[in-house]
C-alpha cells in the first residue's frame, strides 16, 4: 500500500495500462500540459493535443476505437459534452446494437465534473444521470484514489464506451486550474479521504457495477457517488451520535448500477436517502427508487440532490449543492418527524 492523490492515482493507472498496451492513446485539448507527465513519457503520437473541436475529436475517437485503438478522450469539463454529445449518444452508444453485436468501440471519455468552487452552472454540472440514461454508455464516478485507479483500469479494458468523471473537489489539479488559480486565500470543502489516500501497489481492475459498502448500520441506507459519498459519511457520523445507525453505499458507477447491493441494504434498513449531486429530476435518485419498487421492497425514501441551475455565487451555490446538513434534515424528517 502506498498513498496517492486522486489525480495521481488516475494518471498512474493510465500510465500502467499505456505501458502494457500500445493501442491506448490520449486525445484532448491542452493534454500536452494537463497530462505533461504522460506526454513527456509516451510522446505526441500517443498523447495528442487537439483543437477546440470536441465534436470532431470525440467523433473521430469512436471510429478510431472501432479500428483498433483504445482512445482516452478528454472533454475538459463534462458540461462541454453538449457540444460533442452526438458522437457519444448516437454513435458510440449504438454501435454494438446496430452492428448486431459484431462491432464495439472501446473508448474512455474522461471529464471533470461537479461544483463547490464558484464557477456557475455551465461549468459545475455532474450530468451523470443524463449520460447514464443512454443505453450503451457506462458512467463511472469514483470517490477516492483507490477506486479512481481501479475503475480507470477497468474502463480501459471495457469493450464499449465508458464515461469517467472526476470530481473537481477530488482532483487537486482541476481545482487549482479552475478554482484557485494559484491563490492561497480561497477555501473549498474538500473531502480529505477522497482527495488522497491509500492505493494498492499494483492496479487491479475494480469491476463496473460493483458498489462499495463503506459502513453498515441497521436504521438507514445512504447511497451516493463522488463527493456525495463523503458528505454522506460525515452525516452518518453525526447521525450515529444521535442513535441512528447508517449504511453508506458508494455506488462507484452510475451505470451499470449495483441493484443487488442497494436492494439488500434497503431490505434491512427500510429507509433510504439518495445523495446525488446531479439534478433531482429524472435522474439517479429517482432510478434507485424505481429499482426498489420494482423489487417490491417496502421503504421510506428521501433524496438530497441539486435542484435548479447552479448559481455562480459561492453562497448561493452552497445552498443548492447537497450538504451534510441537508442529509441530516432528510434523515430527521424521515426517521424523526417530530424533530423536523
Amino acid at each position: 500500500m502506498k498513498t496517492m492523490t486522486f489525480a495521481e492515482a488516475i494518471e498512474d493507472a493510465l500510465a500502467s495500462a499505456m505501458e502494457k498496451d500500445d493501442r491506448i492513446i490520449i486525445l484532448g485539448e491542452d493534454v500536452h500540459l494537463l497530462r505533461v507527465n504522460l506526454f513527456s513519457r509516451f510522446g505526441s503520437d500517443r498523447v495528442r493535443s487537439t483543437p477546440i473541436s470536441e465534436s470532431a475529436f470525440l467523433g473521430a475517437a469512436v471510429t478510431a476505437a472501432m479500428a483498433g485503438c483504445i482512445p482516452v478522450v478528454e472533454i475538459m469539463l463534462v458540461d462541454f459534452i453538449g457540444v460533442a454529445a452526438d458522437a457519444l449518444v448516437n454513435h458510440a452508444a449504438k454501435l454494438d446494437t446496430f452492428s448486431g453485436g459484431k462491432w464495439q468501440a472501446p473508448l474512455v471519455v474522461r471529464a471533470s465534473c461537479g461544483g463547490g468552487y464558484g464557477d456557475g452552472g455551465q461549468h459545475e454540472q455532474t450530468l451523470w444521470g443524463w449520460l447514464a440514461h443512454i443505453p450503451g454508455l457506462s458512467v463511472v464516478v469514483p470517490s477516492n484514489p483507490r477506486d479512481a485507479g481501479g475503475l480507470m483500469t477497468s474502463a480501459i479494458a471495457e469493450n464499449g464506451p465508458v464515461v469517467f468523471l472526476e470530481h473537481k473537489l477530488l482532483a487537486d489539479y482541476w481545482l487549482d486550474y479552475l478554482g484557485s488559480g494559484g491563490r492561497k486565500n480561497v477555501t473549498y470543502d474538500i473531502p480529505d479521504d477522497g482527495a488522497s489516500g491509500f492505493v494498492p501497489d499494483k492496479w487491479e481492475p475494480i469491476p463496473l457495477g460493483c458498489a462499495d459498502i463503506l459502513r453498515e448500520g441497521k436504521d438507514l441506507t445512504i447511497a451516493s457517488v463522488g463527493v456525495g459519498v463523503h458528505r454522506s459519511m460525515k452525516a452518518a457520523g453525526i447521525l450515529e451520535q444521535r442513535g441512528i445507525f447508517s449504511t453508506v453505499i458508494d455506488l462507484r458507477t452510475v451505470f451499470p448500477i449495483d441493484e443487488e447491493c442497494i436492494c439488500r441494504s434497503v431490505e434491512q434498513t427500510s429507509n433510504l436517502i439518495v445523495v446525488d449531486e446531479d439534478y433531482k429530476q429524472f435522474g439517479l435518485s429517482g432510478e434507485i427508487a424505481a429499482i426498489l419498487l420494482e423489487n417490491e421492497i417496502q421503504f421510506k425514501y428521501k433524496r438530497v440532490c441539486t435542484e435548479g441551475t447552479i448559481p455562480y455565487s459561492r453562497e448561493m451555490e452552497d445552498r443548492v449543492l447537497p450538504s451534510v446538513d441537508d442529509i441530516i434534515k432528510a434523515s430527521d424528517s424521515m426517521l424523526n418527524p417530530n424533530v423536523a
Partner: protein
C-alpha cells in the same frame, strides 16, 4: 470617429478589469476569471459603431464589451462579487452575463457566440428593423463546428452579423497554429463573406473596418468577418499556469518538474528521441509565454494615449474622470463587504 471617446472607453474597461483582478486576487471573486485586457481596442472599435437595438453575443471574456456598451459598472462588479444586487442577481458570474435591455448574451461554451449572433440577426432581418448583431470570439473558436456552421448560415440567409475574431495565437494553453489548418481569414472568405485582417491594437484601424462592415450589414449586404490580432498579457485566465510559470519559474516548476522527470525517465514508454521532442514542445511553449511577457508588444491603450498627449490637460481630465468612476465602484463594493462583516 472620436478618438477621445474611444480612449475613454478603453481606459474604463482596463481600469475596471484591473480592479476585478484585485478583487480576484483577494479571493472575493470565485472560480475562473477570463480578462479582456489587451483586447480593448478591438472591442471599442466595434462597440462604438453600435446603435440602440443592435445585439452582441459574447464569449467567456465579456467584461470589456459590457463596460463599453454602458452597462452599469457597479451592478457588473457586484455580479462578479456574487452579490444579489449584481447585474444577474449574482447567479451568472463573469462567463454568463446578460442584458435583456441591451440584447447582450454571454456563454462560457466555446463557439456559442456564432449561433447566438445569427439568431439575433435573424430576428432583426425578420422584423426589418435595420439592426445588426456582433459575435465576439477567439481564434481557437474558429475550429469549433458551431462557429463555422453559423458562418455558412449567415451567408446563406444574408444575416446582418459581424464575426469578430480576437486572435492572441493561443487556444487556452495550446499554440493555435499547431492545431489549425490553413489561414483563418481565407477560411471565412471561403464561406462567401468579406474578410478583413487588422492590427487589433490599433483602435482607429478597428473602428474604420467596423464602420464599413456594420454599415454593409445594415444595408442588407450580409455578414462580414474581422480578424484582429491582439496580445493578452494575462493569458487564458487569471492564474493561467503558463503565466504563473513564466512569472515564478522556480516556485511553479518545482511542482511540475519532479513528476515530469520521473515520468520521462521511466523505462517503458516511447523512444528517447520522441521523449526529447515532447519535452522540447513543453519547454518551447513555456519559453514563448515568457518571451511574450517580456516583449510586452503594443498596448492598445498606450498606443492611443501617445496620440492624445498633445493635449495634456484634456488627457488628464479624461483619465481623472475615469479613475474616479472606477474608484467609486470599488468603494461602493468595499462598503457592501464592510456591512456584511458587521452583520456577521
Amino acid at each position: 470617429m472620436d478618438i477621445w471617446k474611444l480612449y475613454e472607453m478603453m481606459l474604463k474597461s482596463r481600469l475596471f478589469e484591473e480592479s476585478v483582478t484585485n478583487f480576484w486576487n483577494n479571493g472575493q471573486i470565485s472560480g475562473e476569471m477570463h480578462l479582456g485586457i489587451g483586447e480593448e481596442a478591438i472591442v471599442a472599435g466595434i462597440v462604438d459603431n453600435l446603435e440602440d437595438g443592435d445585439a452582441m453575443a459574447l464569449d467567456h471574456r465579456g467584461t470589456p464589451p459590457m463596460v463599453m456598451r454602458g452597462i452599469d459598472l457597479l451592478s457588473l462588479m457586484k455580479e462578479f462579487l456574487g452579490a444579489e444586487e449584481g447585474l444577474c442577481g449574482g447567479k451568472g458570474g463573469h462567463m454568463h452575463l446578460f442584458s435583456k435591455e441591451q440584447l447582450i448574451a454571454s456563454s462560457g461554451i466555446i463557439g456559442s457566440s456564432g449561433p447566438a449572433a445569427a439568431g439575433f440577426a435573424l430576428s432583426s432581418q425578420y422584423r426589418k428593423n435595420g439592426k445588426i448583431a456582433i459575435a465576439f470570439f477567439g481564434e481557437g473558436t474558429m475550429n469549433q463546428g458551431m462557429m463555422l456552421e453559423s458562418m455558412n448560415l449567415t451567408v446563406a440567409w444574408n444575416l446582418p452579423v459581424i464575426f469578430v475574431c480576437k486572435d492572441n495565437k493561443m487556444a487556452i494553453t495550446t499554440v493555435s497554429s499547431s492545431v489549425t489548418g490553413g489561414n483563418l481569414v481565407d477560411r471565412a472568405i471561403a464561406f462567401g463573406m468579406p474578410g478583413y485582417e487588422i492590427d487589433g491594437s490599433n483602435v482607429e484601424a478597428v473602428w474604420k473596418i467596423a464602420e464599413k462592415a456594420i454599415s454593409d450589414a445594415r444595408k442588407n449586404k450580409g455578414p462580414s468577418y474581422i480578424h484582429a490580432h491582439c496580445f493578452r498579457p494575462e493569458g487564458h485566465f487569471l492564474g493561467d499556469p503558463l503565466i504563473r510559470i513564466s512569472r515564478h519559474p522556480y516556485q511553479e516548476m518545482s511542482n511540475i518538474a519532479g513528476p515530469l522527470m520521473k515520468s520521462t525517465a521511466k523505462f517503458k514508454g516511447s523512444s528517447i528521441a520522441k521523449r526529447a521532442k515532447s519535452i522540447k514542445t513543453v519547454v518551447s511553449i513555456l519559453g514563448k509565454t515568457a518571451k511574450d511577457q517580456m516583449l510586452s508588444p503594443e498596448d492598445p491603450i498606450e498606443m492611443t494615449r501617445k496620440k492624445l498627449k498633445k493635449e495634456p490637460q484634456r488627457l488628464e481630465n479624461v483619465e481623472k474622470k475615469v479613475k474616479s468612476e472606477i474608484e467609486w465602484v470599488e468603494e461602493e463594493c468595499m462598503k457592501r463587504n464592510k456591512i456584511e462583516e458587521v452583520q456577521i
